[in-house]
């Protein structure tokens, strides 16, 4: 339809060029997805969307469908996979590897299982929801099952161990380097 809006600054070309409604799949990496998902989850609506990327492999594969339910920081546990904003306009579904109380608020450290470093620690306000299930090839994996919760907890511990590994070996390495003849091998 070619039309102009009376008393509006919407250009005629904008109205006539677009179909009135188009069915699209919103990419989970887009800023629109970040805003819409935050808006819906805060309104108490769960989300179903297709994951992109491999940062949570092997648990979440590219193309898996995730079911995210609204969650408060208080109810989230270490090992849970959460949907949160790590920077403006970007959301990730990563695992909680650390949970702290910082100035009367919850601080969450999230990390992709396949990543060597965590994302920045986020305040509770940037948490949108918790991944409750994922679908792959028609099968649904319920992440609230005890075995999945245990595996999640172990994955979080592994990430934390990897995170602290550098610091853990720094002191012994320093002492060994002081021994004559070993410093050249440990440089």
């Amino acid at each position: 339809m070619s039309a102009t809006v009376q008393g509006s600054d919407v250009p005629e070309r904008e109205i006539s060029a677009m179909p009135m409604a188009t069915c699209v799949s919103l990419r989970c990496t887009s800023a629109a997805f970040a805003e819409l998902s935050a808006d819906l989850l805060r309104a108490g609506v769960a989300l179903r969307f297709r994951a992109q990327g491999v940062s949570m492999a092997p648990l979440v594969r590219d193309g898996d469908v995730l079911l995210v339910r609204p969650a408060a920081p208080r109810s989230v546990r270490i090992g849970d996979v959460v949907l949160c904003s790590t920077e403006p306009g970007r959301v990730v579904a990563h695992r909680v590897v650390r949970k702290q109380i910082v100035r009367h608020d919850y601080g969450l450290t999230v990390q992709g299982d396949a990543l060597s470093r965590p994302d920045a620690s986020i305040p509770g306000a940037q948490l949108y929801g918790r991944v409750a299930a994922l679908e792959r090839a028609g099968a649904q994996i319920d992440l609230d099952r005890p075995v999945m919760m245990l595996l999640g907890r172990l994955a979080a511990l592994r990430s934390r161990w990897n995170l602290g590994r550098g610091a853990r070996f720094r002191r012994p390495k320093y002492l060994l380097k002081r021994l004559p003849g070993l410093s050249k091998y440990l440089a």
Binding site: M1, S2, A3, T4, V5, Q6, V10, E14, I15, M18, P19, M20, A21, T22, C23, V24, S25, L26, C28, A31, A32, F33, E35, L36, S37, D39, L40, A43, G44, V45, A46, L47, R48, F49, R50, V65, L67
Partner: protein, 96 residues
């Protein structure tokens, strides 16, 4: 769609949002929003969606478009009917 007096209402299972310059319609079934098939609308589509809040007839919608837009009434009617038909087949609106 050949019934100008047919009256329509929005399906409450669809949520309308203005997000980052986009006007989107999200289907929500059993409290789960399906982000795999959302509808983006142009400003005219959004205008019609907002008017659907008052359970208008197609004739009333046509008149509202005529008041707000400078457009050939026959073209407006044809596009409006097609749009409402699309919304009905998607389940976003239903006849009252």
């Amino acid at each position: 769609m050949d019934q100008p007096e047919a009256r329509f209402e929005r399906n409450p299972e669809f949520i309308f949002r203005r997000i980052v310059d986009e006007l989107v319609l999200v289907p929500v079934r059993q409290d789960v929003a399906d982000m795999d098939c959302i509808y983006t609308m142009n400003p005219l589509g959004a205008f019609i969606w907002e008017k659907l809040d008052g359970r208008p007839t197609l004739q009333e919608l046509e008149a509202a478009i005529g008041q707000a837009y400078e457009v050939d009434p026959r073209v407006a009617a044809a596009d409006l009917f097609r749009f409402v038909e699309e919304l009905e087949s998607a389940g976003a609106v239903r006849r009252v």
